[in-house]
């Protein structure tokens, strides 16, 4: 494969359909060789943003640069990108070989070169033995590989993936995830990947861009997003099961952190976060605690709950319990096959250092977490 350059810069990129603003000013710098995932709920504009980079949607405002060239008005082929679509977009009347060769045929490359480049791409994707097949005779995973092959032969500087795995079943998806990560390592090319599946984002990305309502909510490595979500949206979007968010009242603010009281006098907890000017006792805040961060012993605060629903997954047990101050049930993940039963009281402990705290506008207080230490400890 040829040397790929692959730098992508977005500067205040906007998109509007009539009066509706779909993308409200997105700025982002992607380095050569990075695997960046755009993630967000449906309708957040992630696909639109990708299509704007691809040149399939017009850019209403701002600037898209690829390899330091403004590409706003360039047709897709001149942008040095290749795109893989959700539906694979394979040509049903052509063989796998011709599907992969399509971009080269458009460029009228000599037959020998076409042969050679298609075979190289096919061997990377393990499609060698299936080049004479029609897409209709192949499984979903194989079709997706053909679609990726069509992108590879062009040797683009930037690969764009639009939810490429969402048409596959769960086990195949996991398999293809691994293959895509390997492919990224092998090609060393810049990849932009759109998905609504936060597991895909967490497992594949060098950096994740969380989009919400046409704006970037947060950009960061998977661990940053997990441990240091900057706002409620990211906090509840990243992680599965979702983070528990409890409405609490600020009791005391000092250098050690912020002490908050849970509703119905369930107790207080002193969360070690950096204080922010204007946060005073009496303010309504939101306390966040991930379901997997429950400790059975030596905790800073014990909560007595009654489980409504219990899911036994073998490796872990998930319980859901009603809790005042929460819109959704309080979710707790217990290790192994825990003796949790529906209707029975259970005690879960939470540690202050695992807690997140958000102000009335949903902005997070900075937690005192050392990401490097967490990564070293393997706490992923």
């Amino acid at each position: 494969m040829g040397a790929c350059v692959g730098q992508l810069n977005l500067k205040d990129v906007k998109k509007s359909f009539g009066a509706a603003e779909i993308i409200r000013g997105v700025s982002l710098d992607v380095d050569h060789g990075e695997f960046v995932v755009f993630v967000g709920p449906s309708g957040c504009g992630k696909s639109t943003l990708l299509r704007m980079i691809a040149g399939l949607e017009e850019i209403s405002g701002g600037e898209v640069r690829i390899d330091d060239v403004v590409v706003n008005t360039l047709p897709p082929v001149k942008r040095g990108i290749a795109m893989v679509f959700q539906s694979y977009a394979l040509y049903p009347h052509m063989s796998v070989f011709e599907n992969i060769a399509f971009p080269l045929r458009v460029e009228r490359r000599p037959q020998a070169e076409v042969e050679q480049r298609v075979r190289t791409a096919a061997s990377i994707l393990k499609l060698d033995s299936r080049l004479h097949f029609r897409p209709g005779d192949m499984s979903g995973g194989q079709r997706q590989r053909v679609a990726i092959g069509r992108a590879i032969v062009r040797e683009p500087s930037v690969f764009l993936f639009d939810e490429p795995l969402s048409n596959l079943d769960a086990s195949l998806r996991a398999e293809m995830r691994v293959e895509l990560v390997k492919l990224h390592a092998e090609l060393g090319a810049t990849m932009i990947y759109v998905t609504h599946d936060q597991v895909e984002a967490m497992t594949m990305a060098d950096r994740i861009v969380v989009l919400d309502g046409g704006e970037i909510s947060q950009v960061g490595t998977p661990l940053e997003l997990y441990h240091l979500p900057q706002n409620l949206f990211v906090a509840s979007f990243i992680g599965n099961p979702k983070m528990n968010l409890i409405k609490v009242r600020c009791e005391k603010v000092d250098d050690a952190g912020i002490e908050v009281a849970l509703p119905e006098a369930k107790g207080t907890i002193n969360v070690p976060v950096d204080r922010r000017r204007g946060t005073k006792p009496g303010h309504a805040l939101t306390l966040g605690i991930r379901p997997e961060h429950m400790t059975p012993d030596k905790s800073d605060l014990n909560l007595r709950l009654t489980a409504d629903v219990v899911e036994h997954l073998g490796a872990q047990t998930v319980s859901y319990a009603g809790m005042s101050g929460m819109q959704e049930p309080f979710c707790a993940v217990h290790k192994g096959t825990a003796p949790v039963r529906i209707g029975q009281a259970l005690t879960v402990g939470i540690n202050a250092e695992d807690c997140h705290l958000f102000d009335g506008k949903g902005r997070a207080f900075r937690r005192r977490v050392d990401l490097a230490r967490l990564a070293a400890a393997g706490d992923i």
Binding site: A54, G55, L56, P75, P76, V77, I81, A82, M83, F85, Q86, S87, A89, Y91, P92, H93, F102, P103, R105, V106, E107, R150, R154
Partner: protein, 280 residues
Amino acid sequence: MIHRFRWYEYGLIYLAHLLLLIFILAPFLEALLVSLRPLNAIFSIPYRFVTPDMGFDAYVTMWKNVPLLWRYILNSLFIATSVTVLALAAIIPAAWAFARFEFRGRDAFLGAFLAVNMVGGAVLIIPLFKLMVTLRILNTYMAMIVPGAAFTIPTGIWLLRSYLMRIPRELEEAAWVDGASRLYILRRVIVPIAMPGIVVAAIATFITAYAQQFLFALTFNSVNELSPLPVGIYQFFGRQRVIWNELMAASLVGILPVLVIYVVLQRYIVAGLTAGAVKE
């Protein structure tokens, strides 16, 4: 939906089919019978289904009686084929544009096309005639082909458009991203995928062109050698009498090409006409 019919319901359904088929096929049967009878037995009263001396004589004598008959049949085929080719050349790109691209006045144009179909050729014969005189194409094949194509294009666009709208947009976008031009996409992606729809449009156009050529041939052409079958068949109208048996024989032979095409391609027609009716 699951349908379970009772025996008498099946009976009624088949009865309805039978009535419809009789209604449609009776003229063909009568044409066949007439073509097999000697001329003097055709008007026998009372009507008899089988008359004496039936045979295929008319199928032989018609070629001698009207020596240019083969030429008329070939003319018919040639005109209908030319109309189809010419019309398709316009229908395919137009249908794609109407199916895919947003442009001002698109729906108005589509509506106008339907309106043209409602008006029909007969109303426009005189202006068309003047046009032909100006263009000096009166009494040529062109005079019969061009209006024929013009009147079949709107229906063709409507037919093919609904088929093209079913082709996923991502296929075109993928080709566009890969650097293909619009014409390249049309040629290498859209046309091959839309082949069943195009065949339907072609057949519909051919049959219409075959049927409607009488009007244009009668008005825009007076050269005997260029006449298609429907006009040429008038040669069987003698001064004193009409040679009905040969007339019917010639008609049936003339219908044959369309019949063959229809039978061979009918699976496309059924698939194409219902395409897009149900979301898959």
